[in-house]
Symmetry: C2
């Protein structure tokens, strides 16, 4: 990401000037319970148990900028869809000249719509807009619930939600948005937790507790239930469920361990390490068993915990196992946790 | 504006890379009935008669990007506060290091709030967010009403308004927002039009009709009534009304005529020109009379028409005179007009 931006600004000025781009500097970062794009809700306020916070960059905007914000119940977050796979194409060829105007919409079963008729993250100007509930301002951090934003997202702006102009009671949306909404195609019938998962989570909790935004394994389980009560799989996974293979699960582990930025630096070499690999081994065993039974095991990473679940065609979800992939041990997360659990 | 951006991108790359700015390329421009910041409503949907449209840049995003948007009643516009007086400071010193965290709030009678607790345009990342009513898509233009956006604003993104997540029925705002809201401090008691204004507008209409987003002088008058039904004066003007002087009115004329970009290029040297200067002379006479009577004459430029009005301490507004400052004669405006009046 940083390399791309550096490359961009060092391009010859004539080209950039023609593109007419405005340089927008983020004010801070979202720390969120959603570790990856997969599992991050598709709309805000659907997962009310979701916790996150905005942390201002040190040396940037003073904390006083938050003054008065706690008097509102909700706020808007404007942020960069920094995790998009098409960012490179977008920013290396500015001016949108080969931008695709129409995109596939999951709710239209693969049908296409103009990009401005959707809230897809793949937009000519990759700015996201989400409403979130304000839980409070704690030591220079804005504590939020209900945000549908992935951990590490750069924040461009925060605006208070003004009910008298933002809440448009007469607004309407086309039927394909309503019909395909959360109450419908994407809604799951049941979400159950296997006994082994509950045991796993209890065991994992001991090592992850001090890095969690939640106060107990039960709270974390409640979050998981909300997240999985809607189909979080990609269109691809939904269309071809049996291509999800054991290799994909292994990929998660190799990805995590090969990227030093994802690793818990302070925890490296600590006594937790042995326990983590024991958990991983057990997790992989569950995965092997599932594959043997012909069941497809899906994965979701929340708060650095890899959770595996099955989902049948009737909309019944069973959570099977979990293992701690990494400890979220940064000063931001520790402060954020203190705000939520104090 | 273009010079500033060029200067920015040609700065040495190391400095820019540190600032971590994201290059955001606008997709198009807002053409709006609000010619200047003064008079542009402080919130969206207050002035329902306000007409505007988004015009995509030629050669950029294809028109198909609008497909399906007309099925929604409302949309969000994300745009650059390009007319801010503090943009230069903001972008030449990126990283927000000397950014002021608290700002004066008109509704707090000069009191201060953290910038993120306000919707002020003077923000660390100068992105605006407004909801507007969708009137239709016409030949690659998105026709809107109720937008509180000044003519010429660069648009970064358009998103459909999703009632089920954007309209938060339980949201609340602090009392200083409600108490100082449009229904209160800023609301005017009456807005009347002098006979001479109505004559002026009728006479002006002949020359401006083909460049207006409205179909009759009566429609334009209705817009004016809505705009002036709230105090549009700056905090400065409200606190010291008697510093508004004849010289300020003259300034408007000299500013317009000294900036070739503001002039109607096609109309230059045409037969309309003599008529425009006759109107201007008459307008200045009204202004001189007002100053002689000790009344303060305020100005508002809408659709290139300079409108002067008085406002007493009881909240009574009288519109006195108008004159055409410039003809909005661009292909964009002509197309936009066709969409609205067809």
């Amino acid at each position: 990401m940083q390399e791309l931006k550096t490359a961009l600004v060092s391009k010859k000025s004539s080209e950039d000037a023609n593109s007419g781009a405005f340089p927008m500097t983020p004010i801070g970062t979202v720390r969120s319970c959603f570790s990856t794009r997969n599992g991050t809700p598709r709309q805000p306020l659907l997962v009310t148990e979701a916790r996150s916070c905005v942390v201002l960059y040190p040396g940037g905007i003073p904390v006083e900028a938050f003054e008065g914000l706690g008097q509102y119940s909700h706020c808007w977050l404007l942020y960069v869809f920094h995790d998009n796979t098409d960012l490179q194409r977008l920013w290396i060829k500015p001016g949108h000249r080969d931008f695709k105007a129409k995109i596939h919409v999951p709710r239209l079963q693969g049908g296409k719509m103009g990009v401005f008729a959707t809230r897809s993250p793949h937009r000519p100007c990759p700015i996201g807009l989400s409403v979130a509930k304000i839980e409070g301002v704690y030591g220079g951090m804005l504590l939020l619930s209900g945000a549908d934003i992935v951990d590490g997202t750069p924040v461009l702006d925060i605006k208070p939600y003004l009910p008298y102009c933002d809440s448009v009671s007469v607004a309407s949306a086309p039927s394909w948005v309503k019909a395909g909404g959360s109450e419908d195609v994407l809604a799951m019938k049941t979400v159950d937790f296997s006994e082994s998962f509950i045991r796993d989570l209890g065991a994992s909790w001991k090592s992850m507790e001090k890095y969690s935004l939640y106060s107990s394994p039960e709270e974390l389980q409640k979050l998981l239930k909300q997240v999985l009560s809607r189909d979080i799989r990609s269109l691809n996974q939904r269309e071809r469920p049996h291509t999800a293979k054991l290799s994909e699960v292994s990929d998660i582990f190799s990805k995590i361990s090969s990227d030093p930025a994802d690793l818990d630096v302070e925890g490296a070499g600590s006594s937790d390490e042995k326990e983590l690999s024991a958990q991983t081994e057990k997790f992989l065993q569950v995965t092997r068993d599932s594959c043997t039974n012909g069941e497809v095991l899906y994965n979701l990473v929340i708060e650095g915990v890899n959770v595996s679940y099955t989902q049948d065609s009737e909309g019944h979800v069973v959570v099977k196992a979990c293992t701690v992939l990494q400890h979220l041990n940064t000063p931001d997360i520790r402060n954020c946790r203190r705000g939520f659990t104090s």
